[in-house]
């Protein structure tokens, strides 16, 4: 780790994220899920009736790219669609979906705990807040650049 990249927060974020994602996907694979599927199940558990456009905005996934995700979960009988109005469909976990979601929550909780346990003890308390701060800071730079283009 003596390369010129190892001190760059952006690079470290990317590498840490990729490593964590690989670990999480490995844990979710036995349930036949990818991390994005698991995210959607968690959202629908906490916020039943969320539409797929709303979920896409939460997860920063384009409407168009939500279609195969929702179809896949619906095809497995994990979620149902319920018309909200003529164009929107609220998504809900089926009982099968709730059962699988419980397993997902166990896996994710175990993984996140293991991840935090791997940190030096004196970082554990502040670690999540640091990640939130990085997210916020990176988003802020993007919003800034975007408004700079348009205005």
């Amino acid at each position: 780790m003596s390369d010129p990249l190892s001190t760059l927060p952006g690079y470290l974020l990317r590498r840490a994220s990729a490593a964590a994602l690989a670990g999480l996907n490995r844990r979710l694979a036995p349930l036949g899920l990818r991390h994005v599927d698991a995210s959607l199940l968690l959202i629908l558990h906490s916020m039943p009736g969320t539409t797929q456009s709303e979920a896409g905005r939460l997860l920063d996934i384009q409407r168009a790219n939500m279609v195969p995700i929702v179809s896949r979960l619906e095809g497995r009988g994990l979620i149902d669609r319920q018309k909200v109005d003529g164009r929107s469909q609220g998504l809900h976990l089926s009982s099968k979906g709730e059962a699988l979601c419980a397993e997902v929550r166990e896996e994710i909780e175990a993984y996140e705990l293991a991840l935090l346990a791997g940190l030096p003890e004196d970082m554990r308390e502040s670690a999540v807040a640091v990640l939130e701060a990085f997210w916020r800071a990176a988003e802020a730079l993007n919003v800034e650049a975007l408004s700079g283009e348009e205005g």
Copy 2:
């Protein structure tokens, strides 16, 4: 940000990483580079003669996937190949590559500084160490799981 995912370090890593990557790619686009190209230029500046297999191991990119990256940069006259032995080729920045690398370093440094400046002041000192720790912790879980499969 009141969804059930916002407290999960793995999720936060992914979102922060994606946001930071988007910002960095936006800054590198005028130079005609992607973040991975920039990473390779930085490596070759600091460690001239690195082979593409070595660079791939550093960046966690498969040998096979290094080929189009190196070809692209060589095609633009940014890097040269010099035979080390019959099978390995050391990669070196051309003078054009060094010049572009200097611009890359400016852009990246400016971006990383802006990112850190967006953090609450009391986090700035420890922030990079926290990311390093997450990377290490996530990698450790992957190594553990891998040896568990094989052994």
